[in-house]
């Protein structure tokens, strides 16, 4: 069940990224929804699910971009694994701590992704620190909102159900 959920989340993120790309990737303010999903899954489910989610999501993103297949996969696998370890070793339940994790994960992803491309001399990046910073903040904000909604919505549904049950009685 969890596997199906993760696959659906990756597909939804890729579809949303490609559909809303022009609105969420403007100049220095960009959001990588696929990375947000990888970090969220890694924080919730641990390092093994995190690294597998990173691999699948990264490869899908690579295949849809004009880049080398595997570079995004490698970067997201590393991020998924390390965030999973952080999530299992420390209590990352407060919005601020999650914000910091998303921020650090985006910076690490950018360093590995851009670093590999530059090291292999495959692509030039005009990405400045401001652009990476903008993306990190964007991902962190979206990530924290997704987490808060994920925790808030089931509670609301549960409260409504119990209210209805009380009325029926």
């Amino acid at each position: 069940m969890r596997t199906v959920g993760v696959i659906l989340a990756i597909v939804a993120a890729v579809v949303l990224q490609t559909t809303l790309g022009r609105y969420i990737a403007r100049a220095t303010v960009a959001v990588d929804l696929v990375l947000v999903v990888v970090v969220a899954v890694a924080l919730t489910c641990g390092p093994v699910t995190g690294l597998l989610t990173g691999t699948a999501a990264g490869l899908a993103q690579d295949a849809l971009s004009s880049g080398v297949l595997g570079i995004g996969g490698l970067a997201k696998t590393l991020v998924g694994f390390l965030v999973g370890i952080v999530g299992s070793q420390f209590i990352v339940a407060q919005p601020f701590s999650r914000f910091v994790v998303f921020l650090a994960a985006t910076a690490l992803h950018a360093a590995v992704f851009i670093g590999l491309y530059v090291m292999l001399d495959l692509r030039q990046f005009g990405t400045s620190y401001a652009a990476v910073g903008g993306q990190a903040v964007g991902n962190a904000v979206v990530g924290v909102v997704v987490f808060q909604l994920g925790e808030f919505l089931p509670g609301v549904v549960e409260r409504r159900r119990s209210q209805r049950a009380r009325i029926r009685r």
């Binding site: 696929v34 590393l78 292999l120 400045s128």
Partner: protein, 281 residues
């Protein structure tokens, strides 16, 4: 003990997956002859999902913009926009023809330029990663679209076809960091190469001669030397010129196309090389 075992297994799995990635990257870096099969397959599969999502979102958008209060105004606006698009394309072709005939007349060798064969396509998706500037269009191999065909819009040059699958194609935008086009300044005929600027969405004109005359506001057009883009199509306008003595240090070109507002494009089905051959015959 169980936790230690799980951690060890996770570690082994991590190493195995990372090694797999390294092998995958190495295989492509050593032999980048064509499009990897996995890329073509995944792209084709996702293009279908993107087509359905795009159709759904555009239907909702059409209902909203076309029927809620603005029914007649929107239809009229759409009609005028189409007329303008046709006129702009025509203007660009006429400008290209005029430029070419002026040059050829100088050599007393007047030839006709073959008409461009184009097909219209709608953009159904954007890039999957923010670091790449690509879009997916709803025309592919089945419609005669092939890699390295030029993609244009009424305002100017959009990019080139990077990958074509059965019913969709990936277009690398001119603002992508790895994109380039042969360019010529309309006023002074100075030549150079326009390259994408990546995140800042500006183009930069490089390999320009020291003796070239370029000023802010000059129109930059395709030169046709790259065998991808037809000659004479608008790329943009010179926005800034940074000189270091006689040599140009930096020439910034503002693209004519608003890449965020793109919805429909035209694919030039006649390769530029064939156009050149046609005009030589």
């Amino acid at each position: 003990m169980a936790i230690l075992d799980l951690r060890q297994r996770a570690g082994y799995l991590f190493i195995a997956v990372m090694l797999g990635h390294v092998l995958l990257i190495s295989a492509q870096v050593n032999a980048r002859t064509g499009v990897p099969i996995l890329e073509a397959f995944t792209f084709g599969l996702f293009a279908e999902i993107q087509r359905v999502v795009s159709r759904g979102s555009s239907s909702v958008s059409e209902i909203w913009t076309g029927y809620i209060g603005l029914r007649r105004v929107n239809a009229e606006n759409e009609h005028l926009r189409q007329q303008l698009a046709v006129a702009l394309i025509d203007l660009q072709q006429q400008r290209a023809l005029a430029d070419q005939s002026r040059g050829l007349a100088r050599l007393l060798e007047l030839h006709d330029q073959p008409a461009l064969k184009t097909t219209a396509a709608a953009i159904i998706a954007d890039a999957a990663a923010p670091d790449f500037r690509t879009v997916t269009i709803d025309k592919g191999d089945a419609d005669g679209v092939r890699p390295d065909m030029a993609v244009i819009a009424p305002a100017g040059v959009v990019g080139r076809v990077a990958v074509a699958s059965g019913r969709a194609a990936k277009v690398q935008l001119l603002i992508d960091r790895n994109a380039a086009a042969g360019a010529i300044v309309g006023r002074s005929r100075a030549q150079g190469v326009v390259v994408g600027g990546g995140a800042d969405e500006r183009l930069s004109m490089e390999y320009v001669s020291e003796t070239a005359d370029i000023v802010v506001g000059d129109a930059v057009m395709t030169s046709g030397i790259d065998a991808i883009y037809p000659k004479g199509f608008v790329i943009g306008t010179v926005e800034a010129v940074d000189k270091n003595g006689p040599s140009y240090r930096r020439i910034v070109v503002r693209p004519a196309v608003d890449f965020h507002a793109l919805e429909d494009v035209l694919i030039v089905l006649t390769p530029a090389a064939r156009q050149a051959e046609g005009s030589r015959e």
